[in-house]
Amino acid sequence: MRRSQLVKTFWAQVSGKSEDIGSEALARMLIVYPQTKTYFAHWKDTSPNSANAKKHGITVMGGVADAVTKIDDLKAGLLSLSELHAFTLRVDPANFKILSHCILVVMANMFPEDFTPQVHVAMDKFLSALALALAEKYR
């Protein structure tokens, strides 16, 4: 099965839980990589279980879901999101890798039977390409 097909198939299986995946991944990121909290200083509560963190995890995962539909041309599809991250948010791209890792850990955690090595490599490659497209407008 082609990589992009693997991503779409696995995503179809898990998309029902995408809000949980997003919140859980974001929460883990804040716990395991506390330096990421620096981007959320404007939240009164940067604890992993705060309403803000939960909501933000859902928002980010919504972006990932959208990217799955644009998997054949991420650069074009994520243009405006890239501009947002480049000019407004200015998130150091190293953090995309960190969050991607947390997303993979959560996927393995919630779907141990389905997250095979083959699905893992396809998702890892997809998230890397997503991160690259997101950083496209940085410089």
């Binding site: 929460a27 883990r28 804040l30 716990i31 395991v32 992993p48 890792h101 993979l104 850990v105 959560v106 393995a108 955690n109 141990p112 997250f115 095979t116 090595p117 083959q118 893992h120 490599v121 890892d124």
Partner: protein, 147 residues
């Protein structure tokens, strides 16, 4: 000197006390060879690594995965001195095996994901943080003697 909290010590001891080495070791190594195929460069004499199924079913990969996982035991037994525990192994990986130390990080990411799948709910954010901290110290120690 690395400072470990009581929670971190207990978490690492707990995970390894229940560890199924012959399942987790092969799963972690084979996953690494599939997800990061360039790591196959070190296993030229392991026979058939042509596709994911071959890698996952390869008995040499399985055996080596178990060996590597047991290699973590000495760190579990002596968490306050991981750097000196791995000095010799670090020299071995550098001088004899010529392994790029970035590979230790790749393998530990795969091990984290395999453990996450195995432990499920028990593998929460705090446990993940402790486990990754432990692996990070091992990874650093293994790369320490490279020059």
């Amino acid at each position: 000197m690395v400072e470990w909290t009581d929670f971190e010590r207990a978490t690492i001891a707990d995970i390894f006390s229940k560890m199924e080495y012959e399942v987790i070791g092969p799963a972690a190594l084979s996953r690494c060879l599939v997800v990061y195929p360039w790591t196959q460069r070190y296993f030229g004499n392991f026979g058939n690594l042509y596709n994911a199924a071959a890698i996952i079913g390869n008995p040499l990969v399985a055996k080596h995965g178990t060996t590597i996982l047991h290699g973590l035991d000495r760190a579990v037994k002596n968490m306050d001195n991981i750097k000196s525990e791995y000095a010799e192994l670090s020299v071995l990986h550098s001088e004899k095996l010529h392994v790029d130390p970035d590979n230790f990080r790749l393998l530990s990411d795969c091990l984290t994901i395999v453990i996450s799948a195995k432990l499920g709910k028990e593998f929460n954010g705090e446990v993940q943080a402790a486990f990754q901290k432990f692996l990070a110290v091992v990874v650093t120690s293994l790369g320490r003697q490279y020059h």
